[in-house]
């Protein structure tokens, strides 16, 4: 697949890294010669110095043969124009753009991105993606990560298996016997930094990170079985009132009418903008590192502190300070991957990497075949894939025990006519069923092939 990526910043680099690793033909454009040189030195990609929306630069990068353009520069307008030029001049079939300004995303202006106007197939807004991740963590605070699949019928939960976890050392097959009515499957385990797709005979060990797919309605029960049942956070303090903070607060006001949210924002102008856009949220002006201000925000009685400023160091310190002052749990936004390793030792319960969230969303649309959803876990060590089975798929029509799925893959759920079921040996996948499946990085291509639309289909 020939892919052009406009923007060689953190997100562009991350996407290029993953796509290049999968054997795609990747060209990266950036107007910073330094970034282009850096990406060429480190990855198996072609770099082009220039403006991502200029036709001559796109032509040099091979836009005429490109299957896809991914525009993720810092500027919305450059991304939009790059997609427009790619469409109008080079007829690039698939166009993805990162657009941050919410004005472009307003429902009443959505016609802007219609095929006859500015034909962008997929618009990704990092702020909204990150905000949605935070919302899911607020709703299910026991999980380290929560991802919905199949129109939110199925949820993937990432759970830390610590001393509180009562199912440690229990074989996975025994879990099914112990909880026969539980529609949940452990699809992946991260152990000692290595990702595995477990078999039924494997067991969960202390210190593992388990990736469990379950029916949405059973998410709380699943967490309870893993010893992580916690009430939904009702008193929340948010440090940082930018676009993510505003989106988050709006959604909390809509979805959680009893939640009490306090926001601490350093910029008076931003704080005022937030206050004007919200009804029930209290906006405090000042620094999230100010102990008095944290106390004013009621940090002692807060269930959760969400630190989402633009500054990683502030997020780390604010989270640690909040915990010290009595806050129940904390969640920090960390852009710098270098900090991810020692969050636990600092006392940060959970973190969000916006880069990986965005990359994961972009990659979802790069996958071929009847793949409807993809979520990348453990920095790309594995992917949870939601795909629709076609008549031609090798998975269709046979009981699972006869399929002999290769190692590195595990089916988490089968959705047949809207009904979620746990896969068992005698389960049969029928055409048009949706399947949630975990595939280790080296097996992703195989999953794609399983769900590819072949000529036989027609």
């Amino acid at each position: 697949m020939k892919i052009i990526i406009c923007g060689a910043g953190q997100v562009g680099y991350g996407i290029a890294e993953r796509l290049a690793k999968e054997g795609n033909d990747v060209s990266v454009i950036d107007n910073s010669a330094e970034l282009v040189q850096n990406i060429q030195d480190k990855l198996d990609v072609r770099g082009y110095h220039g403006h991502g929306s200029h036709p001559d630069v796109l032509a040099r990068a091979g836009a005429e043969q490109a299957d896809m353009i991914i525009a993720v520069t810092l500027h919305d307008e450059v991304n939009m124009v790059a997609c427009q030029v790619a469409h109008s001049l080079f007829n690039v079939p698939t166009k993805l753009a990162r657009i941050r300004a919410q004005s472009y995303r307003q429902p009443h202006w959505q016609n802007l991105f219609a095929r006859q106007h500015m034909p962008i197939d997929v618009i990704i807004s990092p702020e909204i993606e990150v905000g949605d991740v935070v919302l899911r963590r607020i709703a299910l605070p026991g999980a380290r990560d929560i991802v919905p699949f199949a129109d939110a019928q199925v949820t993937m939960l990432a759970i830390d298996c610590d001393e509180e976890c009562p199912v440690i050392d229990t074989p996975l097959s025994q879990l099914s016997e112990l909880f026969p009515d539980l529609n949940a499957v452990v699809v992946g385990i991260s152990r000692g930094g290595q990702m595995i797709a477990p078999r039924s005979s494997d067991q969960i060990l202390l210190g593992d990170h388990a990736y469990v797919t379950c029916e949405q309605s059973q998410a709380r029960r699943t967490l309870a079985i893993f010893g992580k049942e916690r009430p939904e956070a009702g008193r929340i303090v948010i440090a940082g009132g930018g676009n993510i903070g505003l989106y988050l607060c709006r959604r909390i006001e809509e979805m959680m009418p009893t939640a009490r949210v306090r926001v601490i924002e350093r910029s008076r102008e931003t704080a005022m903008r937030m206050a004007q856009g919200l009804d029930r949220t209290v906006i405090l002006h000042g620094s999230a590192l100010d102990e008095a201000l944290l106390n004013e925000a009621g940090i002692r009685n807060a269930d959760l502190m969400v630190s989402i400023t633009n500054d990683d160091q502030v997020n780390i310190l604010a989270s640690v300070l909040a915990k010290k002052l009595g806050c129940g749990a904390n969640l920090a936004l960390l852009n710098n991957a270098g900090y991810h390793g020692f969050t636990k030792s600092l006392g940060i319960d959970d973190y969000i990497n916006p880069r990986s969230v965005t990359i994961s969303r972009v990659l979802q649309h790069v996958r071929r075949g009847r793949i409807k959803g993809v979520y990348s876990i453990q920095n790309g060590a594995a992917e949870i894939v939601e795909a629709q089975a076609l008549d031609t798929s090798p998975l269709v029509g046979k009981p699972l025990k006869e399929l002999e799925l290769p190692d590195g893959m595990r089916i988490g759920a089968i959705i047949h006519e809207g009904v979620v079921s746990r896969p068992a040996g005698d389960s049969i996948i029928r055409p048009r069923d949706s399947i949630i499946i975990l595939a280790l990085a080296e097996r992703v291509r195989l999953v794609e092939q399983m769900f590819r639309v072949s000529f036989e289909f027609f």
Binding site: R268, M272, M274, A275, Q276, D279, V282, L284, H285, E296
Partner: protein, 488 residues
């Protein structure tokens, strides 16, 4: 100044045309002399107005802040002075009493200074109602075109801004005034048709539709409103009271179904909510008042409660029967009247927008006790207000309070009972004339004089309060410090 004369000419021409309606009624009722007299007044008014228009038509029509304020204050003083002449002739009263009637009608206060309507010619009753109707339209236009852009009293700014290029502004004003006049007239005709359908006789239906659309309070004849019509008529009038009390901008949003704007709008919803609350309160009060439920039935009771609630909130002041408001606490009644209707409506009062702003500001200040670093939204619905706007609102509120105190003291000094003075002052200030009645008087108390029995001094004092209230105390501010307002 030429712009002032030009717009005065336009309004004069419109009012002259309005005089033709009572003239028609006069001819239709066989009052030929009154009819000819009104036609002559209309012709004279038209001649003067057209002369002004022709004389100033070629000059620039720039409406700056000073011109706007001058026109608003000057127009509302000049036209009652002129309209007092035909009123004096029709009712056969002296000029002073006619001036009171003119102010009362034009400001939609509808304080009846004449009395004994059964003895009055139909043309006179129609004239007063027609002036009241024109006053309702004039009120909305004054705020929409003249005072809104100046943001006086913290008014939410209208789309027209002061100081635009003269050609553009004149076209915009004419278009706005034209479309609003058509809308107001169509709504009046619709109200008239609905009232006719409820069985009200044509003359009464005309007067009542004029009253409903202008949030006024004139009745076609003596007696009580519920005797004139039925429950359906009360519901129709209530609906148009609410129309008259809500912002014309909101009406346009509804008409064009601008969902996003409608979601953000607040004032009209609070106003309608207030009508619902007062209706519920009155329904309970009526239901627990001995004999009321038996005389009208539950539906009639609810209709009457709705009518009185809508009348109260829209500052009409009209009651379904004399003394209905006295079933409620006087403090509550006068509080609702003082709050008044919505901005850019025909209703009087301080306006929900301002009260909302003051409450939000007060709540913000209170919340600062708990959250000293809190940043407040500083908005009420679609309207943003900064400290400057809040200062204007508080200043207007303080000036209103001063006017109320001074007015009530003045009336008391003139011989009115002090409680009656307060009641009359509030009723005049919020342009809800019928809200003042001797039904409020404690048993055995003297000094609650009906409007038509008041001395000329009292009438003129009340007329001044009506004008001050109608122009949202801007007239007082201009009178106290003309240099600052007009020549800054």
């Amino acid at each position: 100044m030429s712009a002032v004369f030009n717009y005065l000419g336009l309004v004069g021409a419109f009012l002259s045309a309005v005089l033709l309606f009572p003239a028609l009624i006069a001819f239709g009722s066989g009052e030929t002399e009154n009819g000819i007299s009104l036609v002559l007044y209309a012709a004279l008014g038209s001649f003067l107005s057209i002369t002004l228009l022709v004389a100033t038509g070629h000059t620039a029509m720039l409406l700056d802040r000073r011109t706007s304020i001058l026109l608003a204050v000057g127009g509302w003083i000049l036209f009652p002075l002129l309209l007092a002449f035909p009123i004096s002739g029709m009712f056969s009263i002296d000029y002073g009493a006619a001036l009171f009637e003119a102010v009362s009608a034009l400001t939609t206060t509808a304080a009846d200074g004449v009395g004994r309507l059964e003895a009055q010619p139909a043309a006179a009753i129609a004239l007063r109602a027609a002036i009241q109707w024109a006053g309702g339209l004039g009120t909305i236009l004054t705020f929409l075109i003249l005072l809104g852009p100046t943001s006086i009293g913290g008014l939410p700014k209208t789309r027209r801004s002061v100081g635009e290029a003269s050609g553009r502004i004149a076209t915009g004003i004419h278009r706005m005034a034209g479309s609003l006049t058509r809308y107001y007239s169509a709504a009046t005709i619709f109200c008239f048709v609905l009232l006719m359908m409820t069985g009200i006789e044509p003359f009464a239906a005309i007067i009542l539709s004029f009253t409903a659309l202008s949030a006024g309070g004139y009745l076609p004849s003596d007696g009580e409103l519920f005797e004139l019509g039925n429950s359906a008529a009360l519901v129709v009038i209530s609906f148009f009271f609410i129309v008259a009390a809500t912002s014309v901008y909101w009406h346009r949003m509804v008409g064009r179904w601008q969902i996003e704007n409608l979601k953000r709008h607040r004032e009209s919803y609070y106003l309608i909510g207030s009508v619902a609350v007062v209706t519920a309160l009155l329904t309970v009060t009526f239901a627990t008042t001995p004999g009321m439920i038996n005389s009208t039935g539950p539906l009639g009771l609810a209709a009457e409660a709705l009518f009185n609630a809508a009348s109260l909130v829209s500052t009409s002041g009209l009651q379904s029967s004399n003394g209905v408001f006295t079933l409620l606490s006087p403090a509550f009644v006068f509080f609702v009247l003082l709050v008044g209707g919505g901005c850019y409506s025909a209703a009087g009062g301080i306006k929900y927008y301002r009260v909302g702003a003051m409450l939000f500001h007060a709540r913000h200040d209170l919340s600062r006790l708990i959250y000293p670093h809190a940043v407040a939204p500083m908005r009420f619905g679609t309207e943003q207000y900064d400290l400057g706007v809040m200062k204007s609102i508080w200043s207007m509120f303080m000036a209103a309070a001063l006017v109320l105190v001074a007015g009530s003291v003045l009336l008391a000094l003139m011989g009115l009972d002090y409680q009656a003075s307060i009641t009359a002052t509030i009723a005049a200030f919020v342009n809800a004339g019928p809200a003042y009645s001797d039904a409020w008087a404690p048993r055995g108390t003297e000094g609650w004089i009906a409007y038509h029995d008041m001395a000329i001094g009292m009438k003129l004092a009340l007329a001044a309060i009506m004008l001050i209230g109608h122009l949202e105390v801007i007239a007082v501010v201009v009178a106290l410090d003309p240099r600052r307002i007009l020549f800054r």
